[in-house]
Structures are given as structure tokens and as C-alpha cells.
């Protein structure tokens, strides 16, 4: 076989492999959407879930998922940006830095169910937060932080070294250079990473079963005082999310229309995650254009 033929064969094999991956993904998506979309209606998306009868919705779970997501992003974003800036711009290549990096690697490879049990012991039991949105948000932060930090660090590192030199040579301090030159340039990458990780967090179930809990008490959408027990904003209430709901009705659900609810909820989850991905691409491109003007 000559070089030209072997190149053709290799190209063919690579096409086949990539094609298989795309086909599996497409089949999976189509299957879930095909089964689920017929069950999605305005009533389904807004009504509270039923425990024994048919006709329940996923309104509360949907709200819980978004609220939990926002809360955990609020906690993890500032921490990950600071940690990422430290690792990328300030950390000297020494023992301490390599310990931090190794810890982050290990943390990012922890199975989410282990993070969930850890969250249960530390946040729900020891700290006394119980099964609550707060416990869930903290567990998700533990789950998400290492990946976010890595994303921030990588995005900062991808900004050319010559930009840092440019700032320093103009008499700017390292901090000014990082905040006003490097960070804005890295921002599109950081935002894209944040939204993608939001998608991952949105679909997370195992870390939440023992932290945010598996019950979704009815919410009073007329009272937004966060201290009121049935308020949607109360961070101390248990909050079953969409992903946990799917897991629960499939494992121990006794509602007659369990299959329909589960299909509808799965489709909704997939649609949300897809939207996150599209948004990430769109915003990433738009911000890149805005900041670089190209």
C-alpha cells in the first residue's frame, strides 16, 4: 500500500469513527425528543407534580433547577475566577502550586455521587442546612469548581504572553494588566466555559439526591420573601430538581403516567441543555467580536 492509499484508508476510518459518534448522539437526541415532546404542554411545564394521580406537571422542579443553578453559579463564579487568576498569573512553579493543581485534578474526577454524599454529611448534617437548596448549591459548587477554575486558567493562558509584556512595559502593574487587558480578552472563553458547565450542572442528579433532597413541596409563587417557608426564593427549603425528578419517578414513581412524565421531563432537560450550548456558542462569538472588533 502506498502513501496515498494508506492516507485514504486512514481518512476513511476517521470519517467512520466521527460519523458513528454523531449518529449515536443524533439517535439518542431524536429518541428522547420524539418520545418527550408530545407530552410537553404549558400545563405540564407549570403545574406542580402529582404523587399518586396522573396529570401532574414539572413546574416546581423546573423552577428549582434554574434557581439551584443560579445560586451555585453565584457561589462558584467569583471563587473560580479568583483561583484561575491566581493559578494563571501569580502562582510560581513550586511545590504549593503543584499541590493545588493536583488537588483540582482529583476534585474534578470525583464521581458526583461521592460529592453528593460528602455534601450530605458536611452541608446537610454537620452545618445543619438540612435538605435544602443551599446544601444542593454548595454540593454543586464542589462538583463544578475544579472544572470552572481550570476553564478560567486555560482561558487566561490562551491570551498571548506578549499582551502581558505590553501592559507591563507601559508602567502598568501586573494586577492592572490582568484585570484590564488579559481578563477582557479571556472573557469569551470564560463565559463559554461557564455556560457549558451550567448545562452540566443543570442535568446533575446524583450530587443533589442527598443534598437538595427528593421532595418538591408546593410553592407559593405570590410570596417572594426569601424567609417565607413556601417562597420560591427560600434557600432553606428542600428542592427536587428536574434531573432528580426523572430519576425518582423512574425508580420509585407510583403515578400512573410515570412514563409520560419522565419522557416529557427528559425532553425538557435535553432542550434546556441544548439551549445552554447554543447560547454559549452565540455569546462566545459575540463577545469575541465585541472585545476584539474583528
Amino acid at each position: 500500500m502506498n502513501a496515498k492509499q494508506s492516507d485514504k484508508v486512514a481518512t476513511g476510518v476517521l470519517y467512520l469513527m466521527s460519523g458513528t459518534i454523531v449518529a449515536i448522539l443524533a439517535l439518542l437526541l431524536l429518541y428522547i425528543l420524539w418520545n418527550g415532546i408530545p407530552h410537553i404542554s404549558w400545563h405540564f411545564l407549570t403545574a406542580p407534580a402529582q404523587s399518586f394521580e396522573k396529570g401532574g406537571g414539572i413546574g416546581v422542579q423546573l423552577f428549582n433547577s434554574f434557581y439551584l443553578l443560579i445560586l451555585s453559579m453565584l457561589i462558584s463564579t467569583p471563587i473560580s475566577i479568583c483561583a484561575g487568576i491566581y493559578l494563571s498569573e501569580y502562582a510560581k512553579p513550586n511545590r504549593l502550586t503543584s499541590i493545588i493543581r493536583t488537588s483540582i485534578e482529583i476534585l474534578s474526577s470525583l464521581p458526583s455521587v461521592v460529592v453528593g454524599l460528602f455534601g450530605f454529611l458536611v452541608f446537610a448534617v454537620q452545618a445543619g442546612f438540612g435538605f435544602s437548596i443551599l446544601s444542593g448549591a454548595l454540593a454543586l459548587t464542589v462538583f463544578n469548581l475544579p472544572l470552572l477554575t481550570r476553564n478560567v486558567e486555560d482561558s487566561l493562558q490562551s491570551v498571548s504572553f506578549t499582551q502581558r509584556e505590553a501592559g507591563l512595559a507601559l508602567g502598568l502593574s501586573r494586577w492592572e494588566t490582568v484585570i484590564h487587558v488579559i481578563l477582557p480578552e479571556a472573557l469569551p472563553g470564560i463565559i463559554t466555559g461557564m455556560i457549558l458547565s451550567a448545562g452540566r450542572v443543570f442535568g446533575e442528579a446524583a450530587a443533589l439526591i442527598y443534598t437538595a433532597g427528593q421532595s418538591a413541596p408546593p410553592l407559593d409563587f405570590t410570596n417572594w420573601n426569601p424567609f417565607y417557608i413556601a417562597s420560591p426564593l427560600n434557600p432553606m427549603r428542600p428542592a427536587e430538581t428536574l434531573a432528580v425528578h426523572i430519576w425518582k419517578i423512574n425508580s420509585e414513581g407510583i403515578i400512573p403516567d410515570a412514563k409520560a412524565v419522565s419522557s416529557g421531563a427528559s425532553a425538557m432537560l435535553i432542550i434546556a441543555v441544548l439551549l445552554f450550548n447554543v447560547l454559549a456558542r452565540y455569546l462566545g462569538n459575540k463577545m469575541y467580536k465585541k472585545f476584539t472588533g474583528v
Binding site: 498571548s160 507601559l170 477582557p184
Partner: protein, 269 residues
Amino acid sequence: MKDYSFDETYFLPLDPKKHEIALSTEDLNVFYGTNHAIYDASLQFERFKITALIGASGSGKSTYLRSLNRMNDNIASAKVTGKIMYRDLDINGNGIDTYEMRKHIGMVFQRPNPFSKSIYDNITFAPKRHGLKDKKKLDEMVERTLKEAALWDQVKDDLHQSALALSGGQQQRLCIARAIAMEPDILLLDEPASALDPISTSTVEETLIRLREHYTIIIVTHNMQQAARISDYTAFFHLGHVLEFNTTKEIFTTPKVQATDDYVSGHFG
């Protein structure tokens, strides 16, 4: 390449009464870890003149230039010993505010490195950070520096366009404008034209010759014709040693040191 003696050197003495010295180094040594990169470099740079640093790749000319405004501070393994005298002050000393010092000693790099901001913001960004807020003054500064860098006519209608949309030569002139917006005394240029095409190179050279009226310029260059065209003095670097310092005319016509002679006549490098 022959082995040249590092003891065969020639340094043109500059009479301080006739030549005002803007910057000088005394026994400057630079180390990267265990690698000794510059040996006892003592040079003087006359005010409002262009001094070219020439030498083969790895001769240490860029390393030397980067230590003049202490850009080597950012490299953890780098160590610079010796004196760098600027206005009777050893700026290689410990108590020096390097950020303040770099306002007086500006630098332009080998690859054009404009910020990914607009042309206007590229120039005004650092002065604003240093406290200049007056819009009118900033506008004037942009016009003045872009004119000095011979870029104004080409960009005056697109000041708020991204600097990254400019060509390489325009970007480099923008970087020069950005550096002189700080109104430095001294401008360090590290092979500023090596990434540019011949036409852009000659524009940058014309810019530098004009800038000599107001700035002391020290330029590292690979290109001997360039050194001959624009500089008043030339220092020849070889393997971390400065072997000759003389007027550019002398260096290129009657060099005093054999190594310089061989280098400028193209025998190595």
C-alpha cells in the same frame, strides 16, 4: 565560526562634557538559572541619538535590552547584577518602583502586540490608568502620537475600530505611538521590524529617525543595513560579551575589532 578573544574589545569613549548620557550600564551581568547570558556589559547611550545593538542570534543583545527596563524581572529564573544608571539613579537597585521607571523607559517588542481594543483605547489606556482623564488632552495625545508614528493619516477616520484589524506594519507603528504616549525619555525597541515586510520596515525606520529628535532610542536589530541606515552608534554583541562600541560609521567602515569586522562583512551570524 572562529573563536574570538573576549579581551579584544574597543569602546569609543564618550566625553560627558560634549555628550549627554541618557542611560548607561556598568558591569551588567544577566543569568538565566545557571546560564550566564551577559558578561560585564558596560555601555553608554547618548541622549537624542539612536544606538543599535547588533550581533548574531544568541549573542545576548535582546537579553541586554530587556534588562534595561527590567522586563527580565518577570522571568523567575533570571538574575541581573550590575548597575543601570538613569538620571544618577541605579534603576537595577532594590528600592526602585519598576512600574514608575517603565513610564520613563518605554519598550516596543519584536512582534506587534496591540491590545485587542480600539486604536484610540490602545493609546489612551495606560495614560488613563495613570490618572489622565481630560478627554480633550487624550484626544490631542492620540492625534500627536499617531502623527509622530506616521499612522494618523491612515487611521484618523477609524480611531474606534479594533487595532487588530490593522496590518502588521500599522500595528507596530501603533505600538510605537502607544509607547510614546507615555512621553518616555528612552525608547527600547527589540527588533521592531523583523516581523514586517520591506515597505512597512522602511516606514518604521523613517518614524524612528524622526523620533530621534525627542527620544533616546536603543534598538536591537538583526538587520545590519537597518543599523547602518538609522543609528548613530552601534554596539556589537558576541556570545554575551560586548566586543565593540563605536559610531555606526566606524563600525561599518573601519571596525577596530576582528570579530566585528567578520560579522559586519557577513562571515558569520
